[in-house]
Assembly symmetry: C2
Homo-oligomer: 337 residues x 2
């Protein structure tokens, strides 16, 4: 049923190694021999056994991408780009869903490295630098978080600056009671904390006070949590005239809650998100957001990983920044800006 080098070799009348050489494009093979081997390969529909090749070479050609949840659009879009970028280098991507819990993430960070993958691109939610120390030296690239003095390469965007910029955008529209949705009691360095920092710093620059009552936590960043947080803000009587949601799904939930309350967006409350997901281009109203360059993030991550795998594993960790863009849309600027 399934053929091996040996079968091809017998059919072509050469040694196994010669077939292997043909398969791997080794230069010194006579044209007629090569042709005979290729004919045999085609006739038997030979394809190499990757397990055996991996065992021999110590490489698998597979990298893993670990994200919290696949059906959060941001991660789905990111995954798409990572798969594409990896394919260009001839790699296959194994996608892992951590669920975002600390224990599960720890398992992925240490256990996934069971020799089956050459490297890991990891987008952690709960882990901190301390959790990432003991890694058997499997190359790893971290995404999205600034894990200070982390033990691995990482690709970041400047969350603080981006959050400041989008908050400034709201300030620039004349909004004065700007709420935030999505704060979390997470360790220093996580996205929630950084985006909160940017928000606070923009408020301070604008001479607006920081009001704890305007900051709504969200344990996870799903649409339902955004809607719940928005309802909570509205019912608590603080009456914001703008909301900065720490990601787009929260913002879509907030839009929905505002719609149900009968408030107009942006006239009564302006809404801004973060992530630049596709949904935001088609929501009613369309969503103002910070759009990180996901393609760039994916490509940088794959390249960093490639360098690690093929190059010096003991080189000091590198940190690369990916660009982002503020994309003003209807949810802050109205229909005809």
């Amino acid at each position: 049923m399934r053929h091996r080098l040996k079968d091809v070799a017998e059919r072509a009348g050469v040694s196994v190694k010669t077939v292997s050489n043909v398969v791997n494009g080794y230069a010194h093979v006579r044209p007629d021999t090569r042709a005979r081997v290729e004919e045999a390969i085609a006739a038997l529909n030979y394809r190499p056994n990757l397990s055996a090749r991996n065992l021999r070479k110590g490489r698998t050609g597979i990298i893993a991408l670990a994200v919290p949840e696949l059906d959060i659009p941001y991660f789905a879009e990111l995954a798409r780009h990572v798969v594409s970028a990896a394919a260009e280098l001839g790699w296959t991507v194994l996608i892992d869903q951590t669920g975002g819990g600390r224990e599960q993430e720890r398992v992925v960070a240490s256990g996934i490295t069971d020799h089956l993958i050459d490297g890991l691109i990891f987008s952690p939610l709960a882990l901190t630098a301390d959790d990432l120390v003991n890694l058997d030296g499997t190359p790893m690239v971290l995404l999205g978080e600034r894990v200070d003095r982390g033990p691995a390469d990482h690709v970041v965007i400047d969350n603080v600056a981006a959050a400041r910029e989008i908050t400034n955008h709201l300030v620039g529209l004349g909004r004065r009671r700007i709420a935030a949705i999505g704060s979390q009691r997470t360790p220093e360095g996580a996205s929630a904390r950084l985006r909160l920092d940017g928000y606070r710093s923009a408020l301070a620059e604008a001479g607006l006070g920081y009001d704890e009552a305007l900051v709504a936590p969200a344990p996870v960043w799903h649409r339902a949590d955004g809607a719940a947080a928005m309802r909570h803000l509205l019912s608590s009587g603080v009456r914001p005239d703008a909301v900065f949601c720490f990601n787009d799904t929260l913002a879509l939930g907030a839009l929905r809650a505002l719609h149900e309350t009968g408030l107009r967006v942006p006239e009564d409350v302006a809404v801004a998100g973060f992530d630049g997901i596709e949904d935001g281009r088609f929501s009613v109203p369309t969503l103002t957001t910070i759009a990180p360059d996901k393609e760039r993030i994916a490509r940088l991550a794959v390249e960093l990983l490639a360098n690690r795998i093929e190059g010096d594993r003991s080189a000091p960790p590198r940190e690369l920044a990916a660009p982002y863009r503020l994309e003003p849309r209807e949810s802050t600027q109205g229909r005809h800006p």
Copy 2:
């Protein structure tokens, strides 16, 4: 750095095979020997080399899931469930993105089977039964399409009945000029065709004529295509009072286009989708849809694949149906039904 059975064996003072036996839970090992081996395993942080194990056993513990695009919410949600269901059986899922093109899908269907995976769950867009004949016997489960007399197991939902049901829902609301968005010139059997069939059959039952002008094609089923198709329908002067979109992303695009035109949903035009994606619960207005039981689909697919891998590979292909539910929401029923 990385330890092998041999290292553990030396440390515990036993043979490699005994360590292997401990690792694999073989029964006849003396308790004290087992303890010594386990101590050594822990001390060296030993983890088996899967490539070697795979080579020896002919199994990898990895199954592949091939979907057209990861950032189409339906597939992202499906992927999530497949990963979860597979994890319960101790399997890892390798996710592949085909792009939906026929050639790429053919490559996946034949090429992914490079000995690295034990089986494949495949959600094809363009392939037909004919493309799936020559598969080297790698177990495969097809999703979503009714590939008639196909060579593999598949999990389907009754697209025709579901489409008829949601069209009936629109008819029941008193709509008479019901448009459809998403038709494709695809081979017999693909989703687009089946959903169109259901739509036509419901119209016929209701005594409403079939009007070609009310059916808008969409080459792919993204939001932008739904918006474009809706605009096209509106500008062509046919004035529908309802639209059945062949999936939810098309419907979200259509909602957006209607909003831009100033038409009210559902008062002027009722909108229905298909897929039951999470977005539809939070859109403005919320989206009436056919929601297939994705968790069930995923579990059935994984179980079928498990049977195929562990059981009789030459058994005749099986077809299992997963249930779906009509979920009426604001886009057809209005705010307070």
